[in-house]
C-alpha cells in the first residue's frame, strides 16, 4: 500500500469517504456515492474527477512540431494555437505505445497528455527518437489534473474563472486562471459529455477541488471515481489502453484510422502500417441473453473461438449490457450474432454500432 503513488487529492478523497483502489500503481478513488449514481450525475448535471495520475510530457524547441509529428500518428501541423488533437504513439511495428492528446501551446511548444501507467514508457520512447534536438520533459509531477464533466460543467467552472469559456470549442484550450491560480483549461474529456479538463500546479489541486465542489453545488455536482469514468467512456466507445489498444494492436484494427495521417510524411510505425494486414476489427456488442460480457471474455461464433471482449459491462444510460470486442473483419458490421463465453457458458450477443451514447448537441 505504501508503495502506491498518490495524487495531490489523495487526502481529499479519503476524507470524502471514497473507496480507493490500486489503479496501475496509483491509489485512486474508484467510487464515492456509487458508480451508477456518479455516472448519471455526469450525464445529467456535472461530476468532478481527479485525473492527476495522467501524465504530461512537454516538447519544446524550434523543431518541436517535427518531433511530435514523427512520434505521433495524427497531423500536429494542422493544429492551431490553443487546439488539441487525439493521436497515437506507435512502435515501429505499428502497435500502440499509447494514445495521447496533443495540445499546441506555441509554435515551439507542444503539451502531451498521456496515460498514467504509460507516462515513463512514453517519455523514454519520445526521448529515444528525439533526433530533432528538442527539449522533452516528463512533466507529470508538475501538474494536477481535474476533469469537470457534464452539461453543467461549463457553468460550474465559469464561476471560478475570468476566462470566457463559451468561445472555447471542443478540443480547444486556453491558458488562464481558475480561482486565482494559473491553469490550462481544455474543453476535452473522457465521458462523452461537455466539460473541461483543467491542468494546475499540484499544490493548488485540493483547494481548487473544494471550490469546484462548492461552485457546482447548485447544479448537484458530485465527485466521481474511476468506475464511472470507465462506464462513461465505454458508452462513448472511447479506447482504453490495455483494453482496446496495446502494443499488439494497430490503429486500423482499432477503428482509429481517423487519427492516422499517412500522407503527412514519415512517422514511427508508418512503414509497418503500409503493409499492415489484419483479420480482426474492433466493434461494439450488446448482450441478448442473460449475462454480462466482460473484459477478456472469449467470443465464439458457431462454436469456435473468434475473438475477445476488450471492455464490457452494464451501461447505466442505456440500461443494456454492452461493450467492445475484437471479431473477424467479416463479422464486425452491426447485427452479427456472436456468443460470449460467460463462465464457460455461451451467451448470445449481437455486434452493434458505436458509440452507444451520443450527447445531444
Amino acid at each position: 500500500m505504501s508503495d502506491l503513488k498518490k495524487t495531490p487529492l489523495n487526502e481529499t478523497h479519503r476524507r470524502s469517504g471514497a473507496k480507493m483502489v490500486d489503479f496501475g500503481g496509483w491509489d485512486m478513488p474508484v467510487q464515492y456515492s456509487g458508480v451508477i449514481d456518479e455516472h448519471n450525475t455526469v450525464r445529467k448535471a456535472v461530476g468532478l474527477f481527479d485525473v492527476s495520475h495522467m501524465g504530461e510530457i512537454e516538447v519544446r524547441g524550434p523543431e518541436a512540431l517535427a518531433l511530435v509529428n514523427y512520434v505521433s500518428t495524427n497531423n500536429a501541423a494542422k493544429l492551431k494555437l490553443g487546439q488539441a488533437q487525439y493521436s497515437g504513439l506507435l512502435y515501429e511495428h505499428g502497435g500502440f505505445v499509447d494514445d495521447i492528446l496533443v495540445h499546441k501551446v506555441a509554435d515551439d511548444h507542444y503539451f502531451l497528455c498521456v496515460n498514467a501507467s504509460n507516462q515513463d514508457k512514453d517519455f523514454e520512447h519520445i526521448a529515444a527518437h528525439n533526433k530533432f534536438d528538442c527539449e522533452v520533459e516528463n512533466a507529470g509531477p508538475r501538474y494536477a489534473q481535474i476533469a469537470v464533466q457534464g452539461p453543467k460543467g461549463p457553468a460550474t467552472l465559469q464561476k471560478l474563472t475570468k476566462t470566457e469559456l463559451a468561445p472555447i470549442k471542443y478540443y480547444h484550450f486556453e491558458d488562464g486562471e481558475v480561482s486565482g491560480t494559473p491553469a490550462r483549461i481544455a474543453r476535452t474529456g473522457y465521458t462523452g459529455e461537455d466539460g473541461f479538463e483543467i491542468y494546475v500546479a499540484p499544490d493548488q489541486a485540493a483547494r481548487l477541488w473544494d471550490e469546484l465542489m462548492e461552485a457546482g453545488a447548485e447544479f448537484g455536482i458530485k465527485p466521481a471515481g474511476l468506475g464511472a469514468r470507465n462506464t462513461l467512456r465505454l458508452e462513448s466507445a472511447m479506447a482504453l489502453y490495455g483494453h482496446e489498444i496495446d502494443a499488439s494492436i494497430h490503429p486500423f484494427e482499432a477503428g482509429l484510422s481517423w487519427i492516422v495521417k499517412m500522407d503527412k510524411g514519415d512517422f514511427l510505425g508508418r512503414a509497418a502500417l503500409e503493409k499492415a494486414q489484419s483479420n480482426r476489427k474492433l466493434t461494439g456488442f450488446t448482450m441478448c441473453g442473460r449475462g454480462i460480457g466482460r473484459d477478456g471474455y472469449e467470443i465464439q461464433i458457431d462454436g469456435s473461438a473468434a475473438g475477445w471482449v476488450t471492455s464490457g459491462g452494464p451501461s447505466p444510460t442505456t440500461g443494456k449490457n454492452l461493450g467492445m470486442c475484437y471479431v473477424p473483419v467479416d463479422k464486425a458490421a452491426p447485427g452479427n450474432a456472436i456468443q460470449i463465453m460467460v463462465r464457460n457458458q455461451p451467451v448470445e450477443a449481437v455486434t452493434a454500432a458505436t458509440p452507444f451514447y451520443k450527447r445531444a448537441k
Partner: protein, 126 residues
C-alpha cells in the same frame, strides 16, 4: 450491520437456519464492497451444492464475484426477484436480498461458520 441470528463465512456469505433449510445471502460487507449490484446468477431449484464450492455469482458494475455455498445440500428455492431487481441485495442484503434456500444434507457444517460477533471481529482484520 451483522444480524445475531445469522451465521457467516470468511467469504462473506450468511446462512439463516430454519430446521433443515438454510437460507443463503451475502453480508453487508460484501454488498458494500461490490457496490451497485446489476446481475445475479444462482443455480436452479433441484441443483446440488457443496460447501465451499461455487454456488453462483454476483456482479456489480465493476466486477464479478463468486458466491461460495456455506453448506452442502439441494437447492429448494431461489430468489426470483433478483433476476429483474438485483439491487435488492444492496438495499436489503439480509431479507429481500436472499439468494437461495438449501435443504442441508450435512448440518454439522454449520459448526464451522462464524457467529455475528466472530464475523465482526474477522472483518476488523480485513
Amino acid at each position: 450491520m451483522y444480524p445475531e441470528k445469522l451465521l457467516y463465512t470468511k467469504d462473506h456469505e450468511w446462512v439463516s437456519v430454519d430446521g433443515e433449510i438454510g437460507t443463503i445471502g451475502i453480508s453487508k460487507y460484501a454488498e458494500q464492497s461490490l457496490g451497485d449490484i446489476v446481475y445475479v446468477d444462482v443455480p436452479k431449484v433441484g441443483a446440488s451444492v457443496e460447501a465451499g464450492k461455487t454456488l453462483g455469482s454476483v456482479e456489480s458494475v465493476k466486477a464479478v464475484s463468486d458466491i461460495y455455498s456455506p453448506i452442502t445440500g439441494e437447492v429448494t428455492a431461489v430468489n426470483e426477484t433478483l433476476a429483474t431487481a438485483p439491487e435488492k441485495i444492496n438495499e436489503d442484503p439480509y431479507e429481500l436480498g436472499w439468494l437461495a434456500k438449501i435443504k442441508m444434507s450435512a448440518p454439522d457444517e454449520l459448526k464451522g461458520l462464524m457467529n455475528a460477533a466472530a464475523y465482526a471481529k474477522y472483518l476488523e482484520g480485513q
